[in-house]
Symmetry: C2
Subunit: 182 residues, 2 copies
């Protein structure tokens, strides 16, 4: 499939959602990271099950997901399930996911409701050179033998590939007095 | 290079550090993720400059790195620098790095000072199927034209590849009352 065809292809769950469209002030990379030889390779270790099957109703971040509720489940593939041992003692984990439908060449972008365009690394948009999703989630239950984690809430489409799970530690992961740029 | 040879090769900065050794209770995957066809490909967007050139003196987590100080710098490659626009308003960002020297097939592991072995996903060890480092760091300065971010502290070896930068938002990234399993 050519790069153009690839961009024109709509993912099944996005039937009713708009394509990622170009907006004023946006800039693309000269070379699309999805089209070049990668520097490193990821393996999928499982997937996220969520209530969200359409991009337009999927919560855009974890704060919105917690407000909306609806739960979610992490399914870890059999080969990787032994890695969950000990996780049941934690209240929160960090999930890393692969946001496979996002364009990778958008380096300055204008969020739908923003007035101006902003650099990709100053946004949490899924569109980025390496479309990795970062989600701090609350664990409701861990089933080691089934390889599942029940979540309070999650902000990704059903079926999103999982690439890592890490325990959350406030001592390392929560800065003392963060200030955002808004 | 065969898988065995690859495992026997020591990285330049690890000359004085022990190899990742097998410890009691540890378990390896049947298939090493570094040796199979990847599900997705990463591109390096830059690298970390840090004071740490030996594994035995490199802080093991961000809490230790903040205690130790010493600063650090993110260098973003020219092609990706436009993505930094707007980042200077933030006090903290999340860096994702690729911990390229870590073994990827260790699924249950015993940290050096731990009494028992624990699942990889309940640890922050660099050894994991996808060795992605997650670092919440305080920004001291952003130089958009040079593509550099000066950091208060960082817990990775000098030269570690950078794969993503995200703004940190307490509203989405800091859970209300996290409890860890220790």
């Amino acid at each position: 499939m050519s790069r153009l065809e690839k961009k024109m292809t709509r993912s099944p769950e996005a039937e009713d959602a708009p394509l990622f469209e170009q907006r004023p002030g946006e800039r693309r990379l000269d070379i699309d990271p999805s089209g070049i030889r990668p520097d490193a390779g990821l393996v999928y270790i499982g997937r996220i099950r969520s209530p969200w099957i359409r991009r337009d109703t999927c919560p855009k971040n974890m704060a919105a997901a917690r407000d909306k509720g609806g739960g979610g489940t992490v399914e870890v593939d059999p080969a990787y399930r032994a890695g969950l041992e000990g996780l049941d003692g934690y209240s929160h984990v960090v999930l890393l996911t692969w946001l496979q439908h996002a364009p990778r060449d958008l380096i300055v972008q204008k969020p739908r409701h923003a007035e101006t365009a902003t650099g990709t690394f100053a946004l949490r948009s899924p569109a980025r050179p390496n479309p990795i999703g970062l989600h701090v989630v609350r664990l409701l239950n861990v089933d080691l033998s089934a390889g599942t984690l029940d979540l309070e809430a999650i902000d990704v489409l059903d079926g999103t590939p999982l690439i890592d799970i890490k325990p959350y530690f406030a001592s390392t992961d929560a800065p003392a007095a963060p200030q955002d740029g808004t």
